[in-house]
């Protein structure tokens, strides 16, 4: 490992207060958006709020990425150019996108914002990422359903930065349909979209899949929260460039503590790997202590085999 390697610790934020607190807690970059163009944003930011967050973060030499990762329909295409121009004018550090239309649009309007490619489940091999790199991506976020060995292989095979999620829930399903609302309609009950909801698999009482609706449809999230704090050595050894903490559906207090823990863990490893090994169980314990009772922790697919 070269001494110059410095990963970017990224976190999502739901509002300006969270942007500031997570930056303060040690995040290098904040990820925000608006559900009109982004999917599974933690909260909606207006253009003015994006401007304020950008100024705030840039003053601290931190970066800001905008979620523009919806699966676009024709109506989006009408207004997207002016939205992108606004973001360019605000000098945000990047847009996170997952619809191929963005490559055409960037060319059409000659947009200068760097593009992080994140088509969620579709970012699974290095040839695919090379294809999109040739079309203009600057960075790529890998799918969550990949083993760490495959991630290392991808990292070695590509010339641009790659990012993975290290903490929080992951999306496992997106429908354009309003599936929760439809169900309430079916059982003839009033639906309150502000109430947190979750699904359990039939006869599997221990399961807990958060589910919610927004303008983009219905989203189902993973049964466990990813927590890689005690495996950061393997991730940093592989020089993965971006480490994302997804704070969706979590309180700012929780996210602030999580960012602090990961900040400390990353810095410790980079300075003194032996010390990281001594302390990693302690960090995991700190996370267990603040973890919501119904949210188990695990390592996702990083060490899991899949069949097909």
């Amino acid at each position: 490992m070269t001494n110059s390697f410095q990963p970017e610790l990224q976190a999502t934020a739901k509002d300006l207060d969270e942007v500031k607190r997570l930056a303060e807690a040690g995040a290098d970059a904040l990820i925000i958006g608006h559900q009109d163009y982004g999917i599974r944003v933690a909260g909606d930011f207006t253009i003015d709020q994006i401007a304020e967050a950008t100024t705030y973060l840039h003053e601290q030499n931190k970066r800001i990425y905008l979620l523009v990762n919806a699966i676009f329909h024709n109506e989006h295409i009408e207004t997207l150019p002016s939205y992108l121009r606004e973001l360019e004018r605000l000098n945000v550090d990047g847009i996170v996108c997952g619809d191929p239309s963005i490559f055409q649009m960037i060319k059409d309007i000659d947009l200068s914002i760097p593009l992080t490619w994140n088509p969620e489940t579709l970012s699974t091999n290095y040839q695919t990422l090379r294809f999109w790199h040739q079309r203009g991506l600057s960075r790529a976020i890998l799918s969550n359903e990949l083993a760490l060995d495959a991630i290392k292989e991808i990292k070695q095979a590509v010339s641009f930065p790659i990012e993975i999620q290290v903490h929080g829930m992951t999306c496992i399903f997106q429908s354009k349909r309003k599936l929760v609302r439809n169900y309430y309609q079916h059982i003839d009950k009033a639906y309150d979209s502000d109430k947190p909801m979750f699904l359990k698999q039939e006869k599997k009482d221990e399961t807990h899949y958060p589910v919610y609706e927004d303008v983009n449809g219905t989203h189902i999230m993973s049964n466990e929260d990813l927590a890689m704090v005690d495996y950061l050595d393997a991730i940093l050894e592989a020089e993965i460039d971006g480490l994302k903490i997804n704070g969706l559906l979590k309180s700012t207090d929780y996210n602030e503590k999580i960012v602090k823990i990961y900040r400390e863990a990353v810095d410790t490893y980079l300075k003194d790997p032996a010390s990281y090994q001594m302390k990693k169980t302690g960090w995991k314990q700190q996370i267990f202590a603040i973890q919501p009772e119904d949210r188990k922790l695990d390592t996702g697919f990083y060490f899991k085999e899949q069949i097909y």
Binding site: P100, T121, L122, Y126, Q127, R177, Y184, L199, N223, Q306
Partner: protein
């Protein structure tokens, strides 16, 4: 519709899970079929074609002027890319007309190994706007299969803005998620949905809870049905002219796992609708017999999905399943002797004297009759044809042809 705006007759594209289904799909009127090979496809449980079967399928299709496409629409991981070049080269040599691909790594492999093999972008890529269609057009892609979430109005705009072939689903089961954007199966069963292992977890039952300050409360009361997400199946049988007027280039029927009876019946109906409409668009009327016929192959209630409006609870599969009469494929007609009025029939499901059956064939030929006399191959009278694939002789009043089918209500 005026002469000047009249559109080309579109392609009717049918699924074929194996060689026999391919032959029936084409004989019953499909202009093209799509199949899966042994690699890179999403239906690991479908029969799937060896290269030898593909070659025979292409030869059969050629006699009818039909095309054979191969779905290679997995979302590949690093390890899955090995062999892709040889695979596409082989498909091209066999005479496959196009491959249906979702992963750009496989597009690239196909381009490099078989530059003249057409690439169509799969519905797994969830193409839902005209700018993405334009992107693929500029990549040299001749055809895109649209996401099942687009409306007719959106398709219209795509056709107006981009000169490219558009393929859209007209019939069959649908993912309830954006296709390719669901990993329920991966998370609940460790089976990778995007590499052919989908366990259809979206069709399972779930308990829905509201989480409040007093803890979690089940939304579902005892008398209620558990939370479920399945959609009714898509069918445009009553609305096909709306798609034909848009100039959609290929009309796709879902179902590589479906039976021969399903494929033949559904293809037969849509063939009839397309031909009837194009013969005389001004005087086109939906014939209720076509809808009746579709219901004989239906497995679920039917919906127009996103084509006219966003689906609501009425488009989902809630409550007790609708009572849909189910039909068996009872026999395949091999021959008919007009002088004796005796048909040679290969048994596909048990049938016997006294059964009311329906015979049908291409071009919407069909009639009902009660079976009065059956003989075995040696001319010995039979009460029932019980053995799978046995050859029988059956007295049938009206003429039949090879490939005509006999169905019986279950």
């Amino acid at each position: 519709m005026s002469e000047t705006t009249r559109k080309q007759k579109p392609e009717l594209l049918a699924p074929a899970g194996n060689l026999e289904k391919l032959k029936f799909a084409i004989h019953y009127g499909a202009d093209a079929v799509y199949i899966g090979g042994k690699q890179f496809g999403l239906r690991s449980k479908a029969g799937n074609f060896s290269f030898e079967d593909m070659a025979e399928g292409v030869a059969f299709a050629n006699k009818y002027g039909a095309k054979v496409y191969v779905a290679a629409n997995i979302i590949a991981h690093n390890d899955n890319l090995e062999g892709a070049h040889q695979y596409f080269k082989k498909l091209y040599e066999i005479g496959i007309a196009a491959v249906i691909v979702a992963d750009p790594a496989l597009i690239q492999a196909c381009r490099e190994a078989a530059p003249d093999l057409e690439v169509h972008i799969s519905t797994q890529a969830s193409i839902a706007n005209w700018k993405t269609v334009e992107f693929w057009k500029n990549e040299g892609i001749p055809r895109v299969v649209l996401a099942r979430e687009v409306s007719l109005a959106e398709i219209k705009e795509m056709k107006e803005k981009v000169d490219i072939e558009i393929e859209a689903f007209i019939h069959g089961a649908m993912c309830i998620s954006y296709s390719g954007r669901c990993v329920l199966s991966n998370h609940m069963t460790s089976r990778d949905a995007n590499r052919g292992g989908c366990a259809q977890s979206c069709r399972w039952k779930y308990d829905l809870f509201e989480d409040g300050t007093d803890g979690a409360v089940s939304v579902t009361e005892e008398s209620d049905e558990l939370y479920t997400m399945s959609s009714q199946d898509l069918s445009m049988v009553e609305h096909l002219p709306d798609l034909l007027d848009l100039g959609v280039d290929s009309l796709k029927i879902e179902g590589r796992m479906k039976s021969i009876h399903y494929v033949a019946t559904v293809v037969n109906v849509y063939r009839k609708i397309i031909d009837t409409y194009f013969d005389d668009p001004e005087n086109y009327q939906l014939n209720p017999e076509w809808t009746d016929e579709i219901w004989k192959a239906a497995q679920r209630s039917l919906t127009t999905a996103f084509y006219y409006h966003e689906p609501t609870d009425k488009d989902q599969l809630y409550g007790k399943p609708d009572r849909i009469p189910k039909y068996d494929f009872a026999g395949l007609v091999l021959d008919y002797d007009e002088n004796t009025q005796v048909a040679t029939i290969q048994q596909r499901n048990s049938f016997g004297v006294g059964d009311e059956v329906e015979f049908f064939g291409p071009n919407f030929y069909h009639f009902k009759q009660t079976i009065n006399e059956i003989w075995d191959e040696n001319g010995e009278p039979l009460e029932r044809a019980k053995h799978a694939m046995m050859i029988t002789k059956v007295k049938v009043d009206q003429p039949l042809k090879y490939y005509d089918m006999m169905r019986k209500q279950k």
